[in-house]
Amino acid sequence: MHFKQKAIRITAIVHRDLTDLVVSALKRNNIHYFHMEPGRYPVLAKRGWLLFDFYQNHSIIDTPVTIFEVSCEASAENFLLSLFRDAAELNIPGHGSVYSETIEFHSPLPTDYIVTTEEKTKTVGFSGLTGIFCILPRGSAEPIARLILQNGVAVPTISYGTGTGLRDQLGLLRITIPKEKEILKLVVHSSDAEHAMDFIIEVGRLDLPGRGFIFEFPIGRGLLNTKVSLEGPKQAASMDQIISALDQLYGNMEWRKKSNQFRQSARHRNYFEGVNVVINCKEESIESSLANLRKVGVSSSTISLNKLLHSQNEKNAFTPAREAANILIPKKNLSEVLSVLEETGFFGEETEGIVYTIEIPRAFSYQSKLGKRK
């Protein structure tokens, strides 16, 4: 593939009730090209809420969120971060988070890609963060999320996806293996990342076959949601507010290090590195692209559904229903994968594909004993 360009991906996770505010703010600023995906973030419930204890015998309340993703030029990073912060008032605990990552485009840039902006603003957000991306069988994210919340590590975001992999080689027998997955994302301080990952691997039993996988991804800057509980404030300020005030006071999240709270796992884990290839195309056409990739040995991936908005063109250049797949591959295989995609016309009119990659320093999944890299 000849094309290659560095860019920034901004991910904003905002409370569903604030979605309209954010969308209109984006449109006001002539940003017409972004992805939306529904998700939820769990919050510890208020105690003594009889009705909820009765109905959902767990102490977690799920708040619906919308996950926005915008890709932009590096110079626009600050502008977009502050745009999201202001639109959804993200400095208030419970409203949501926003963070940026460095990505590399391997496909022609999308038409409404944000190139640059004149505005000069003060740098927004904290640095020194690491994101953790974790794929689990449907239903397993909840206990992990609860433990994370109870420890005050971070506020995770959960969205739904479907997995392909071993399943698809089974023929019709595949129906016996559920393909529904849950995607758990959280952002922690970098020094906590390894421990948090270890913790999730332990709790989610990711070292067993077929349980999912986990990787961490570097984050540029971020502003994080601090609301872990619905418990009303007992003091003048709630704990969430104190945390976010301290964040702002220090200008970073260094003080929130949790490393010492995690149980150190004695086990040595074989982490591997690679690149996360995100391929995004029209809904229902991703299956065939993945089938093509399977021929060069890319077996597993996670598909999530999202909606691409591009309200500028009234003519449907893109259809809004999109699918995105995260595929983790060793770096040396990237060019092969890209050429397969190109050969099969992934970037053509039929599928309107977009491909970008994120460098993954550390990933983990079940590895077979043969030492074969899975």
């Binding site: 208020k46 909820f52 799920d62 016996t176 077996s299 983790l328 591959i329």
Partner: protein
Amino acid sequence: MARNEKEESIHIGFRETITLILPYFQKKIWDQIKAVIWIVLYLALFQLFILRIPIKEAGLIALGISAVVLGLAFFLEGLFLGLMPLGEALGLRLPQKLGIFSIILFSILMGVGATLAEPAIAILRACGSKVAPWDAPLLYFLLNEGSFFLYLSIAIGVGISVVFGMLRFLFGFSLMRILVPTIVILLGVSIYAYFDENLKFISGLAWDSGAVTTGPVTVPLVVALGIGISKVAEKNDQSSAYGVVTLASLFPILSVFLVGMYFSGKLPKPMSEEVFFKQGIKLEEAKLLLGDSYKVPFTKEVSLPKKISPPEFFKKAKENIFDAFELAIRAILPLSIFLLLFLGLILKEKISYPEEVFLGIGFSIIGLSIFNFGIIFGLNKLGDQVGGKLPSTFRSIELIDSTKFIPNFNPKSVLKAVNEDGKEEKFFYLKERKSYTGIPYHEENWNQKNKVYEYVPIHGPIFGKEDNLLGYLVVLVFAFFLGYSATLAEPALSALGNTVEETTVGTFRKSLLIQSVAVGVGLGTLLGMLKILLEIPLVWIVVPIYLLLLFLNTFSKSEFIDIAWDSAGVTTGPITVPLIIAMGLGIGNQMGTVDGFGILAAASAFPILSVLIMGMFVENSRKLSLRDSELKEK
């Protein structure tokens, strides 16, 4: 993730296949056991411990119930594998490839086709079989000679509602804009009908047919179609793929009323039985009302309990199995062929994983056949037994099905006794097991030829004297729990619950939806029972509740409004409807009501209320995550 150096197709031996398949089926079947267990336990325990009547044919019923469980497991899995992906794929493609007119045409065809295939409407006839033509000629006509018009009007009603639903997804207007006018018109028509002699009797039928139309095949299909369309429709907001189901249960009400109004003029008014037989009706009216049989004098049919001999029984069982299979094929096959052909020939699209879709369709047919069989042999039998004996809580009833025949009865053993009023009554002693019971002697039960005395045991009233208040209360409580526990097993609700959980990314749990709907159905059934006991006109129930619902709507979020109204149409399916009707008929017969309709209408209005109220609680807690800190800021 990463890659294997050599990727080969995996060969799976027989053993591995078994280890994959067994836990899979185990899980699916266990899920259904959990869903069905409540209603079965409830009915069985109620009959055994409260009514204190042994369960007849318990073995057969147990077999039937296991068939229900197995059938449900297959059917639901088939829905998720076959019909729903097919519906969603169609929804995604339709707006991209076709113009608005083709979409409208498709929607009408699908709505009408799905409804005509839906077997549940036939149940309405059971409810009307007790109607006498002189009491309510219009109702009698629609349920007998004119049943074709009834079916067609319901089907067209559903077809039109699918059109409206699709237009709503494409243009993204809120459900309220269709709901409010529709309901206002419906309430108006119901009130008008209340004051019309003939129409009065069909309002129960009209409202109930709305509830019955949306069954386990239509609902998931229509919802999946909606999800597909709303994904590609740009003007649509997120997660509003719902609303068609509720329209599909409201529009048929209107169309049934319209058909009723059309025929109302051609049919005689209600009259007494004597007038009816003394040529009180004209010839053409009689032709319309009674069809070809109008020349045959209309006689009262008296059904006699018959003993079924084993070969006859097996013949009947074979017929029933065949019927169940035929019903299942009729409900699923034409519709899936239509969808597949449409997708292949008109949209020219391939399905991803075709073998999975075909397997799914096969699963649904197998599942529905087993399920139908189970319903006939298991749940319906149990429901009929309990329903028929339910009035014994407040009245004494005859247990016809446990009639005893005493051979070589000696009339000399009949004794005389004196009752409270000083009158003489005949009775005799019967030795059963080790105790002697006095049994009243009736001349007409004594067959002198074969010397057999036929004795029908009398049961109840269990709680105190005839027509005691406690007995009525027990009936009402029974109604609540019947509605509640039957709803837990309803397949369409389970499918809707899954879809809701999927589209809301787990923020709206399936269990929460099912629980609140079940409570709603329970309340509705209770009120419907009250309607029959106190003979409240349906208008008095329907008008206030729907006005209240419209009022509550203004306080709710559209997400909950759509789901709440949809759950109304979904609730009354193949499990609830026969059970509720059996109960309604049992009580209605005792009370001598003209029609037993209306319980279903009440049972499908209340879930809207309960889901809306539950939605308000959920919404409140969600707001809390935004609000309390904001208040502090200010």
